[in-house]
């Protein structure tokens, strides 16, 4: 077993376990903290794939900014815990049946596309140099300049939208 493989397996277990922890914990604060761990694990995945820039972006944007926003809102609203919901009759069995169908479809697709399953990446010296970072900058500011600018307008719109939505009405 190569070191890559061991790292992959450990990270996959950590990521899936923290995702399950996020889903199963009743307290929304714990959910958010589990998701921070999950994002950290995924950041190491990006490093494993040879993409340091998006690994660092993952830590700063996701695990940093976005999760702080989440925790802030959860604590602001006092939405930590909720009463259990009422379920429809037979909902559990129906959900289980549909989940089994989904898993069966996925496994079938994996088995039937067996030829594509074993694709292996070539080790590339390019990945370990600063050239990779330079190439991202070039792609972002030359080839994909228009999408980049559209994204900045989207962020502006989101900012204005967030301010307008959370503004208190006068006298209200």
């Amino acid at each position: 077993m190569s070191i890559d493989l061991i790292l992959f397996l450990i990270l996959a277990v950590v990521a899936v376990a923290t995702a399950l922890g996020m889903l199963l914990s009743k307290n929304a604060v714990y959910s958010a903290l589990f998701l921070v761990l999950n994002f950290a694990a995924i950041a190491v995945f990006y490093l494993l794939l040879g993409a340091p820039f998006i690994a660092i972006s993952q830590v700063t944007v996701y695990a940093g900014a976005i999760m702080v926003l989440f925790l802030f809102v959860i604590m602001l609203l006092g939405a930590e815990t909720l009463a259990p919901s009422k379920v429809l009759r037979g909902q559990g069995w129906a959900a289980f049946g549909l989940a089994v169908v989904l898993v069966a479809e996925t496994v079938y697709l994996l088995v039937s596309r067996h030829a594509a399953v074993g694709v292996i990446a070539r080790p590339d010296a390019f990945l370990n140099t600063m050239d990779s970072l330079r190439e991202i900058g070039k792609a972002l500011f030359i080839q994909y300049l228009l999408p980049f600018e559209v994204t900045s307008i989207l962020l502006l719109v989101a900012m204005v939208g967030a301010i307008v939505l959370t503004r208190r009405e006068k006298g209200g």
Binding site: S2, D4, L5, F8, A12, A15, V16, A19, L20, M22, L23, A28, A32, L35, F39, I42, F45, Y46, L49, A51, F53, I54, S57, Q58, V61, Y62, I66, L69, F70, V73, I74, L76, L77, A79, S85, L102, L110, A116, V117, V119, I120, A121, P123, F126, L127, S132, I136, A139, L140, Y144, P147, F148, L154, L155, V157, A158, A162, I163, L165, T166
Partner: protein, 102 residues
Amino acid sequence: MIPLSWYLIFAAGLFSLGLFGVLARRNAVAILLGVELMLNAVNINLAAFWRYGNVTDMTGQVFAIIVFAVAAAEVAVGLALVISVYRSRNTVVADEIDMLKW
């Protein structure tokens, strides 16, 4: 090296967990957490396909960066909506937010 399919299976699993969170959680904030998990799973796919394709073509990574920005915008607006609804209805339970139903 790890086969590409392992990354894809892993990302599909994370996506399914996120989807389950979106569908099954009642807390509106927890639903948004599930959406974040799904976006991350998609990003793993983008990075994996970039790595296993032509490495000098940075399209996959650029796409992942744009997904980051879109996710940040989505969270800002989504949480603003949750706060706005909480002010008018005093609840964050998705079942009880039914102003559009009649």
